[in-house]
Assembly symmetry: D2
Homo-oligomer: 463 residues x 4
């Protein structure tokens, strides 16, 4: 039963979230069972290459193994596993069957299963990071940068506690995510590059390889170099778990960043707020205005996926613990790591599609800002009065704002009527006066900061 109707699958990743062919093929290339077996075969190949270099076997063996693994299929290995009841033994048998009698002994020579399994996982996660995860994240980052720059001057009321605070610009708000995502891209990159391999045998002491090599660490380094990896300082039957734990932490905390962005956008789409939305699709004739009502289903989906995958970090932390030179209670659980990566990638890709269509409703954004315009001036007014030595600035401003609310007058108008305050007013410089009359100017350095943040991360990430 190799071919199966995908709707008979259990995991949403294998039916629902695998419908976009182009994306799913990318995921499957690194993260399917087939991919895993291919990477394991690559490690077996790297092994014979190093053996040949060391003069243990001929380069002919390398060619034979190279050819053998090209023909290898996952079905074949699984078929063999029914007999061996051991997945790596099955893989080895399948390769050996395809090579000459002379070559056979060198397949899997001196290694233990987890030399292959752990090393193969490190290679594929590392390559997946370099070739798929990071490029996808950079694509998102690029779009966020564009939005940040495009909207760097768009005044938006800042919000804390869900309450209007002093203003920012929408570009500045997006720059938060440029910075945080940039930071996580670095974390993923660094932790991905640090993933380690091993070729130290059943308990990590090079027991078997030492039968043939005086310096088995050198031999290990040669095998791993073929694969672009280094060895960790120490290993047992398995690579020290912290390297992978760090990598997944980087992904999970990156997931948190896009979940937060999605939450923000969801709330900005609330009927009463209505500050952002999506462009109409092409098929929706002639209009690029925002629809009256549009459910933020993509942002909801991303938040929801985060809730599904974030807790799985607990599995990684539990899998740090393995008795003695290893118990195998991390074997099944570590098979689910690809789910977590696909869940994340799937959400990043969704966010890319959604952000491409993100549109700001300038009118609503301005209207919401105007709702609190006068109150916003209260903060700088209080600070300025205090800095000028007003003995009770906070109380004075509180009264003034109450009066403003009741009379509908602006604070500036009210100050003119108060002799006491007018004296302070005269001491203000031009910039300060302007801010008190034009609250939309009270955005600090939001514009410059937005540019600077984008510029900084463009440089760091080279995008």
């Amino acid at each position: 039963m190799i071919e199966r109707n995908i709707f008979k699958n259990i995991s949403p990743l294998d039916h629902r979230y695998s419908l976009r062919k182009e994306n799913f093929e990318d995921y499957s290339k690194y993260l399917s069972e087939e991919a895993k077996i291919k990477y394991q075969a690559q490690v077996e190949l790297a092994l014979v290459k190093a053996l040949a270099k060391e003069g243990i076997c001929s380069f002919e063996v390398v060619k034979e193994v190279e050819k053998a693994i090209e023909e290898l299929t996952a079905e074949e290995v699984y078929e063999e596993e029914k007999k061996t009841r051991h997945n790596i033994r099955a893989l080895v048998n399948c390769i050996q069957r395809k090579v000459s009698k002379e070559a056979k002994p060198y397949v899997h020579f001196t290694t233990t299963s987890f030399d292959i399994v752990d090393t193969a996982n490190s290679v594929r996660y590392k390559e997946c990071a370099e070739e798929l995860i990071l490029p996808t994240l950079k694509e998102l980052q690029k779009i966020l940068m564009e939005i940040a720059l495009r909207e760097k001057d768009t005044i938006q009321v800042g919000r804390t506690h869900g309450q209007h605070a002093v203003p920012v610009t929408f570009g500045f708000a997006v720059a938060e995510y440029v910075s945080r995502l940039g930071n996580r891209i670095l974390a993923i990159k660094e932790s991905g590059e640090r993933l380690k391999g091993k070729m130290t045998g059943a308990v990590g002491a090079y027991n078997a390889s030492h039968l043939f090599f005086n310096n088995p660490e050198t031999f290990e380094a040669e095998v791993l170099e073929e694969l672009g990896l280094e060895a960790s300082t120490h290993s047992t039957q398995i690579v020290e778990p912290e390297y992978l734990t760090d990598f997944i932490h980087a992904l999970v905390s990156g997931f948190g960043v896009i979940a937060n962005f999605s939450d923000d956008m969801r709330h900005l789409q609330r009927t009463e707020i209505g500050e952002v939305g999506e462009y109409f699709g092409k098929d929706q004739v002639g209009s690029s205005t925002m629809p009256h009502k549009r459910n933020p289903i993509n942002y909801e989906n991303i938040k929801s996926m985060w809730k599904e995958f974030m807790p799985r970090m607990m599995t990684l932390y539990q899998d740090q613990i393995s008795e003695h030179q290893r118990d195998l209670t991390n074997s099944a659980s570590s098979r689910f790591i690809p789910e977590l990566i696909v869940g994340f990638l799937s959400s990043v890709n969704r966010l890319i599609r959604t952000c491409r269509k993100l549109v700001v409703d300038q009118e609503n954004m301005e209207e919401n800002f105007n709702q609190s315009k006068e109150m916003i001036v209260a903060e700088p007014l209080y600070i300025l009065l205090a800095s000028l030595g007003h003995p009770d600035a906070h109380e004075a401003v509180r009264k003034l704002t109450l009066e403003a609310q009741e009379t509908g007058q602006t604070l500036r108008e009210l100050i003119q009527d108060k002799e006491e305050l007018e004296a302070y007013w005269q001491k203000l410089n031009q910039k300060q006066k302007e801010l008190l009359t034009k609250p939309e100017k009270y955005i600090g350095i939001a514009v410059q900061k937005t540019e600077k943040v984008v510029d900084y991360w463009q440089g760091i990430l080279n995008i």
Copy 2:
């Protein structure tokens, strides 16, 4: 791309752990995407049945819908969803397309998507519990009961802190799991039966159905009765989440019980302990002795699966929170619940297969017990001396055991030499004296308790 090579799948549940055809078909029947859509169609059918009973539509409509959903495929619905971008709208369109013009309006009449989705999930999880989860667990329970009774008299040293303590019997040790698993079977049964449906519309106030029914709660009850469900006291767009949360808690805590059993068996299989193992398979010619060394891979696998799935309970707790009459941030995450159920079932089935072959190494068990035989007597000796008024029983026994260790004599022999202690000895009754000379008798009521536990749960669970 409906048919797919399973090794291109991401989830181990959809390649590795779906290789046992018979099990996977069971899982897929309730827990695949296809199954979900079938259950949703059943809810649409129950709806028109109730409408017909209420005289809103004719019974002819019921027949049409019944026929329509028989022909319905998941592919078709997904194909339609590409246009509607809404899964339940797609389902409704597919059904409507198959019925007469007259019947069309009654499909999905007055309901909102989540009337269908949540109700369908409750039915399928409830039926999955009744028809698959509980029978599977009872099968395991039956095997554990058999082992408990079979080994009720087999002396095993009790262990706390991993240290030898006073003895039990192996049957008594297994009876722990009979009791705990029995308790969880009840919890799963009860929480499964309590799963609720709803037919209250977009925000839970029966807004739409109230257009046609004076008492829409009665109508709701009729629809749900068709499906064997009841409504919760209140619902919004969704059923109150606590019913499902309780059900999954019951499963997750049930998973904890079998994980603990597996951990125990793993450790009892340690080389130095070697108290349990597995029978040789049929193909292993002529021997039913225990292999010298057998890796406890099945127990390891179960523990590992528990580490993978237990943390997912966090998703359920997070999904309790949904803003106002609902945000949709529980939509994607709740699609992964079937993974958790399959993960659990897959482990229970593995444990069934493994326990069927569980064999006790009587010799090792006895030898391990003998290792601490003499020390074990220290506890009852101390208690008895104290009860007889010995002024410093603890110290007296401590010295005695040190002497026993040094001289190799038994405590009984040593007591005879100590005049002071011999006096106390004479005051003991027959049973007490026997226990002090035969430590293997110092098992309390382990045997009777084992029988009683098995008997109790047989009665409760009717197995």
Copy 3:
């Protein structure tokens, strides 16, 4: 160093969240270290009571122990523990020191430490549930019920996806939490009552007590009856962990309910929504109007506490696993359970205080509803047209709403102009017509349902 400045404490529960003296004394009564030791002493007392009943010791011993534990202090036990390095041994020594030579042997007679520890925890959590947790929750429930009834007729727009949907009443929205909290109150009550004790000795087989009792289970039942507990079907050194796991699950899922309520209130307090707030305090002169801006800090605090304590359920699930007759890796972790209970209670008490002052801004609520008034009619119009056989009701209504948006006319007005639709209009009954002209009537049975929900839970919970 027994007396300590509380600000030197590490846990916020022991400085910040223990400032309300009346609450903290309640918590401390059940959940401090002192309380734990007191409950353990109670179990020791129950033990000698049962011994006296069985004729093993005299009733004089009971009196002595009763008096001894009255005088017992936590300091004393901790002082003793410095020597014994074993907390229960320390407790026993302290009691023995206070009784006569004759009574000494009966203190802790035949029991193991965890007979005392686990039983004491079950008693105190059970009593804490009955005497503190449930009354506190019922107090909150009562307030929610009052709000639900008070606001049962207050129209509020229903919200899904954060978008306006069809209307409910605010009372109906609160009734959701009456129902969900009611459900959790039951779950806490039931799981609290099910907490079990044990008196089965070091490995659960009654090894020591069987030296003196032919039926040690009867003896166990007598001890536990003194404490209002029952024994579980089976125990090892410890009570089966699932009873406590269920109890904490009930609390954690109850925490989720109030976190959800708090999230709703937080969002309803957003500047742009402004539907709920708090009354001014007494000291705030002369006004009961809502403040211009009020940060929802209490609701934020509750959500935040939930984020802190919810994940701790993972500890309970991990503590289900204990090797053989017990490893002690659940010992330290189970000492933190009181933190979780206090965290929950503290949040419930905060919510009680906050809800007492909850005030609805009728004006904003109406204004927000009006914002979508016309669009709301679209749903019933579509449903009614469809039910009357309109061949393309959805499209017809879509066009109509677009026209309404552009022209500013109501749907009712537009229908009159469309000959085709006017024909359907005539077929509607009075109630249906009214709903289409008065969207505020389109609330289904929100009012009755609110009353019913409150009534139901009043009956069930007897409040």
Copy 4:
């Protein structure tokens, strides 16, 4: 109620695990509420220092504030908070009360509460890492290194699946933890150093400070420099959460490493294994032999604490999400971070004390190894035969080991009898032959690797 009997506290950290005065004072210095307030006051001081440098206020103001915060107590601030209901406002009031009228306006000048709170937390966690966490971990690391070197030659059977595998040395086994702990020490160091501060005001755009500074980022940098911090690329009301998330991840994953070590030691102390233990205390007369039975309570405690604190990482991940420029749902939860740090430190300190007394039972270790001595040779024999071209090495060795088991002969003896195998034997080199006759030599490069690992980490960590 400032002074309180510690046994009335709720958290075990504030009664049980704070009994070692010397340790608790260390923890409290950084991690109590008092410490938090002191650090916040330091940030207020750094602020006026920068203001003075910038010429905004005089250096006299700095002196006044410096003096004021010296006198400041936590009680005072909490007393004030009762009025202000805002903790930072309370702090500011308390400081202002102690300074001259002229100085008052410069206290807290242009900043928002979280400029102070987040910056103060970063300083104290950073200093706590440098001054307390890292030194404590290095102390542990030093002890582990000593054990590794001391036991580098002590043969121990390697264990995978809890089954005997090929041998290592005990020093090599400990070197695993030297390497993993070293790796985590680096991770804690790096992530601690990266903790950031901010001085960007209420929404992160420097709105208020820009009133006075043309380049408020420079001003921010000056304040932070006083505290040894840098600013993050972007902030809102709060510092980007990922820096703290990474730091706590480093701690939590470090906790995982010592939990794993503790699990290993626990199991090596099992009665049947008995390979490690603790020295007797001084008061235990005259003996340094291992006690017959010693419960591994310290290792159990560490594992248990890990189960308590590891899940709290979920809180950090949830706290990554904060709406817009901030919601406050991370406020209460972040107050519990000190608990996590103290939980970890407390376990590290316990491990230090325990490892100081760790003793190897050479006899048991050798005996356990001998139990599988002959079987161990099977692996190299199989590998060597295969490398020499034996057509069916695996089967040949399997038969040989069965024969060895039955006859009690060694593999070497049996080979001599088999003509076919004897031929291969002759082709082996001296080293290979030796390994097959002396299994205790089959430890690969365990000894050199141990030395190398210790040496490497000594260099990196400079200890």
